[in-house]
């Protein structure tokens, strides 16, 4: 499996803090997949993301982009930040101009894209993300879900190769969450590698095709979700829980589960149950 970004033995400490935020982190983000990085708050997920866009520099160890170590000179960093898009947990953190239209064009202007092209690309992304109506509404009139989508659009418009999302569904209600996940599927299908950090195991289980589990600044488990979530004991030792769906599945009679792969969504689960019903 080819990795698009890799961390090798990375150590990092926040200034003024005694504990290591990253503690010999070795972890690889597979190219072209949907990866979920799971772990508690404080396990190092966000710190890794800030390394991935070159905002933090490892105290020891190194990061590579498609096999080449990151360079921290100004030009290269600017380039890296066009290739790697980071969407923060709190959209207020990265929105700066007054309206979605203006804000989305901000990153393009930093990348010295000509004004004509800025306009076209901004209008296009607004449309494709269903934000056309809101283009000129001031940000402080938008709901949280809308702000999150504007933040995402502002990153996507740069056409990154790798998209990093920090707790993308935090604070969202269920319908906004669903809308966002559909968006992410479309983005992934267009060929972008998508990574999300989350502590919501339900989300990771339902969405990812590759799961990395972090704990205390290290990567402690990795693999496809079926595999990672099979190791219930290990997860519990880490203080993480099984996804509700999987827990429910395991509560079902053996006869029903026999020989069937665990379902990834409620719909799948319903289908299995129905089939069983007929076969009975």
């Amino acid at each position: 499996m080819k990795s698009i970004m890799e961390a090798l033995e990375v150590n990092y400490q926040y200034p003024g803090s005694a504990a290591d935020a990253l503690n010999g982190l070795t972890m690889s983000i597979p190219e072209g997949k949907r990866t979920a990085i799971c772990g508690h708050n404080g396990s190092g997920k966000s710190t890794f993301f800030l390394h991935a866009v070159g905002i933090h520099r490892p105290a020891a160890g190194l990061l590579t982009w498609k096999g080449t170590p990151l360079s921290y000179d100004r030009k290269q960093l600017q380039l890296l930040r066009q290739r790697v898009g980071l969407v923060f947990q709190d959209p207020e953190q990265q929105l700066i101009l007054n309206t979605p239209f203006e804000d989305i064009s901000y990153g393009l202007r930093n990348a010295r894209v000509p004004e004509d092209e800025i306009r076209v690309r901004t209008l296009h992304i607004l449309d494709s993300m269903g934000l056309g109506q809101l283009a000129d509404t001031p940000l402080h009139h938008l709901s949280l879900g809308q702000k999150k989508r504007v933040a995402l659009a502002g990153v996507l418009v740069l056409r990154p190769e790798l998209l990093l999302l920090d707790e993308p569904t935090a604070y969202l209600d269920r319908s906004s969450e669903r809308q966002l996940l559909e968006e992410l599927s479309r983005i992934h299908e267009s060929g972008i590698t998508v990574v999300m950090a989350t502590h919501d195991m339900n989300l990771a289980y339902a969405w990812a095709d590759w799961v990395l589990v972090m704990d205390r600044g290290q990567c402690v488990m990795q693999g496809p979700p079926e595999e990672v979530f099979r190791d219930e004991a290990r997860l519990q030792a880490l203080g993480l829980e099984l996804p509700l769906l999987l827990e429910l599945w395991q509560a079902l009679p053996e006869a029903m589960r026999n020989g069937v792969a665990p379902p990834r969504s409620v719909e799948e689960l319903k289908r299995v149950a129905l089939q069983f019903h007929y076969s009975c």
Partner: protein, 268 residues
């Protein structure tokens, strides 16, 4: 409260009209208001009201309330403008027949005619100016005013600072208001001492929050390619409907004519 004017500025019927034109129009009206006679100033008030309430569709209730709050200052300073105090028995200057006088321990407080006259003139001028200002702020959002300032070659640092301030005003205001509510719910702000302490702790919390926001915003913007300047979207010229051009030119011309006629009459 800080959202009220802002919301109308974004939602009014003149929002799509060029901000540059609106500012130019307001500036012209400001000059006219300052230079003209009370009669013309009162006409200006009526005409600007027509623009704000009629064309921009700002509800009359909101508009009147806004003008009302502006005039608190006028009313507050009235006593100082109106009342003259002089030692009793001296020749009272500026008065032929004082409308009101009150003597206490060798001092006389009185309202000279000139005071009444001056305060009425002042009322006309402030009313005209306030109606111009409210037209601009109710029809043009701050973000578009920033574009106008950029067009006027305001140093980019000022615009950037205004941009960030405006962006975070609402956030911090909400945070302060929420904390105040929580303090009330926990029985705070009871008695002078506790109100002092609660206000101080609120300010401190707000300050630490502000500094947290600063660190987050720095990361957020650097990740989006921020290096040294916040590049604003360029000013996009918007056409102004011919109707507004006609109406504004005709109106200004009419006001000027009235003004000239008044001056000419006085000269005679």
């Amino acid at each position: 409260m800080i959202r009220l004017i802002d919301t109308y500025a974004y939602g009014n019927k003149l929002r799509s009209v060029s901000p540059l034109w609106k500012c130019g129009f307001t500036a012209a009206m400001f000059v006219l208001s300052y230079m003209s006679h009370p009669a013309v100033q009162l006409l200006t008030v009526g005409w600007m009201c027509l623009w704000t309430v009629g064309h921009a569709r700002i509800p009359m209730r909101i508009y009147a309330g806004l003008l009302g709050t502006c005039f608190i200052f006028y009313a507050a300073s009235l006593p100082a403008v109106l009342i003259e105090i002089a030692p009793s028995g001296t020749q009272l200057p500026g008065t032929t027949g004082a409308a009101f006088s009150f003597t206490f321990a060798h001092w006389t407080a009185y309202i000279p005619d000139s005071g009444v006259h001056a305060s009425l003139l002042l009322l006309c001028r402030t009313a005209a100016c306030v109606s111009c200002l409210s037209f601009m702020m109710l029809t043009t959002p701050v973000s578009e005013l920033l574009q106008v300032m950029k067009w006027l070659r305001m140093p980019s640092l000022v615009i950037e600072l205004m941009l960030i301030m405006y962006r975070f005003l609402f956030l911090l205001d909400t945070a302060a208001h929420d904390m105040y509510t929580a303090q009330m719910a926990r029985g705070g702000h009871s008695g002078f001492k506790s109100r002092l302490a609660d206000t101080a702790s609120l300010v401190v919390r707000l300050f630490t929050k502000t500094m947290q926001r600063y660190k987050q915003l720095a990361n957020g913007l650097i990740a989006r390619g921020f290096t040294d300047e916040i590049h604003m979207a360029p000013y996009r010229a918007v056409s102004v409907p011919a109707r507004y051009w006609r109406e504004s030119c005709a109106g200004i011309a009419a006001l000027l004519l009235v003004e000239l006629w008044l001056r000419w009459r006085i000269l005679l």
